[in-house]
């Protein structure tokens, strides 16, 4: 138990530190790399909660696919300090306020969940079988709706890409 606790603190430390480094590092490529470290620390937390399936999917989808695309775009754009557009104080203020409101919402939603603590060693919340059962029995409708949402986003992306090409051909 002692070991698990220490591991939890270590992973949390890594996650928070690298999340801070995402914001503070000057080079956008370094930011993305720090974000990947953050994702790995969070995957470690999933494993501590006995949810190996979630951890694997988290690494495959977020660290393995989405962040590669991020890195891809940033490398192609070759962003550096000179090309970064100057942001006005108003935009900075608006960003700070909206991010602060998001923080309040997060804290509010997490509050009260202390009573719902689960003992990860006793229940297999994150195994493939339990995940499947919960998703396809209790949460079938939200699950299907979110898959439709992803499909809509995908079709939207295809449409955006297509329109541009047709416009070029027309002109």
């Amino acid at each position: 138990m002692e070991f698990t606790n220490n591991l939890f603190y270590f992973l949390s430390f890594v996650a928070v530190l690298s999340a801070l480094m995402v914001v503070f590092s000057k080079n956008p490529v370094h930011s993305v790399l720090y974000l990947i470290i953050t994702f790995f620390a969070i995957a470690g937390h999933y494993i501590l909660l006995n949810a190996q399936f979630l951890a694997a999917v988290h690494v495959i989808v977020y660290a393995g696919a989405i962040m590669v695309l991020f890195l891809y775009v940033i490398m192609l754009l070759n962003l550096n300090q000179e090309t970064e557009p100057h942001k006005s104080t108003l935009i900075k203020l608006a960003a700070a306020i909206s991010a602060g409101l998001l923080l309040v919402v997060f804290v509010g939603s997490i509050r009260g969940s202390e009573q719902m603590m689960v003992q990860p060693q006793q229940v297999e919340v994150g195994s493939v079988k339990d995940m499947g059962r919960v998703l396809f029995k209790e949460f079938l409708l939200p699950f299907e709706i979110s898959s439709v949402l992803l499909l809509v986003a995908m079709i939207g992306a295809v449409m955006l890409g297509k329109n541009e090409e047709e416009g070029k051909n027309a002109s």
């Binding site: 399936f53 393995g64 890195l71 891809y72 490398m75």
Partner: protein
């Protein structure tokens, strides 16, 4: 012998065997190429040129190490290291053999059997892309960057079709653990009829194999290091053992993907008549491991055979094949498998 000691020995053995197989794959590749082109191949170092991999390794260590002036030093070293680490990490979940009985205790010849084994392999492989991307970017060379971007786009595209082809297999066997998938195929021809997965899922195997070629950046999909267009691709700026790590890791990836293919589709350590010859458990395990390595060596040979037979694709052809050919095929295979399972359960 305690379990911990056995596991440590097993990890060291898998590590050593991976490196050995990778080293001798380079030798085999040159010999196979020579055979296909009616040449002799390396034959100077040792009998039949068997010491050639050692000579190559020594040469790579002795070469001058060049770090480009403008590149990011840390990331420049991190790139090849990460690629090598991830290549070596995948061997952990592959069942190299069945249970070995020593002094009445059963030891499994698999380092760890996690219940999401195949997903672990996918996760590690998807991290491997970073090794190429970071190395290519940190080189600060446009050819390296183009190679790195090609590699990442290719690997992500083919991972999708690869994952979908595996889902059909997982639906059939009902598990994600490589050990259980392997045991599902036990027996074979003989007393109880039980075929390897490739008999039930030939299309899935074909898609998986083509994607494995693309994931390993092997010809005909070796566009990330296409000499005619990109000098050397993502490792243009790398020299000495850093280049060696990239090249070496590619061969380890080839070894591991051969092992994965053998385990998933060709019965792993199972062989026909395994329960009918009246052999003891240890004998079956040892023969089984030998059989698994035979299958792996066949697949490595197959990789080389393809490399020296089929010319390189063009990049748009590669993307068309991945997204318009293999992906719909994998989804179709998934639907048909689902239909069969549904009908079988009804009947």
């Amino acid at each position: 012998m305690t379990l911990l000691l056995f596991k440590v020995l097993l990890i060291l053995a898998v590590f050593a065997i991976s490196l050995f197989m990778a080293a001798y794959s380079t030798y085999a590749e040159r010999k196979v190429a020579a055979f296909m082109q009616d040449r002799l191949g390396p034959d100077r170092a040792g009998p039949f040129g068997l010491l050639q991999p050692l000579a190559d390794g020594l040469k790579l260590f002795m070469k001058e190490e060049i770090t480009p002036e403008v590149s990011n030093k840390f990331l420049f070293v991190l790139g090849p290291s990460l690629f090598m680490i991830t290549a070596l990490m995948t061997g952990v979940v592959i069942p190299w053999g069945n249970l070995l009985n020593i002094d009445g205790i059963n030891y499994s010849l698999q380092i760890t059997d996690i219940n999401i084994g195949i997903l672990y392999v996918f996760g590690v492989v998807s991290i491997g892309v970073y090794g190429i991307m970071i190395g290519g970017w940190a080189s600060n060379n446009k050819f390296s960057l183009l190679g790195a971007i090609r590699a990442s786009a290719q690997m992500i595209s083919y991972e999708v079709a690869m994952g979908l082809s595996i889902i059909a297999l997982v639906m059939m066997t009902g598990t994600l653990s490589l050990k259980e998938i392997c045991e599902y195929q036990a027996g074979g021809v003989g007393g109880n009829w039980n075929f390897w997965n490739v008999v039930y899922q030939p299309l899935s195997f074909l898609i998986f194999m083509i994607c494995a070629f693309a994931e390993c950046n092997r010809a005909p999909f070796d566009l990330p290091e296409c000499e005619t267009e990109l000098v050397g691709g993502y490792h243009t700026e790398f020299s000495s053992m850093k280049l060696g790590l990239y090249l070496f890791a590619e061969y380890i990836n080839m070894f591991i993907s051969s092992a994965t293919m053998a385990t998933l589709f060709f019965g792993g350590y199972n062989f026909p008549f395994m329960h009918d010859l009246g052999l003891s458990q240890n004998a079956i395990t040892i023969i089984g491991t030998g059989v698994l390595f035979g299958k792996i060596i066949f697949f490595i040979f197959f990789f080389m055979w393809i490399r020296w037979t089929i010319p390189r694709f063009r990049y748009d052809q590669l993307m068309n094949l991945g997204w318009k050919g293999l992906l719909p095929l994998a989804i179709g295979n998934l639907l048909i498998t689902g239909l069969f399972i549904l009908l079988n359960n009804r009947g």
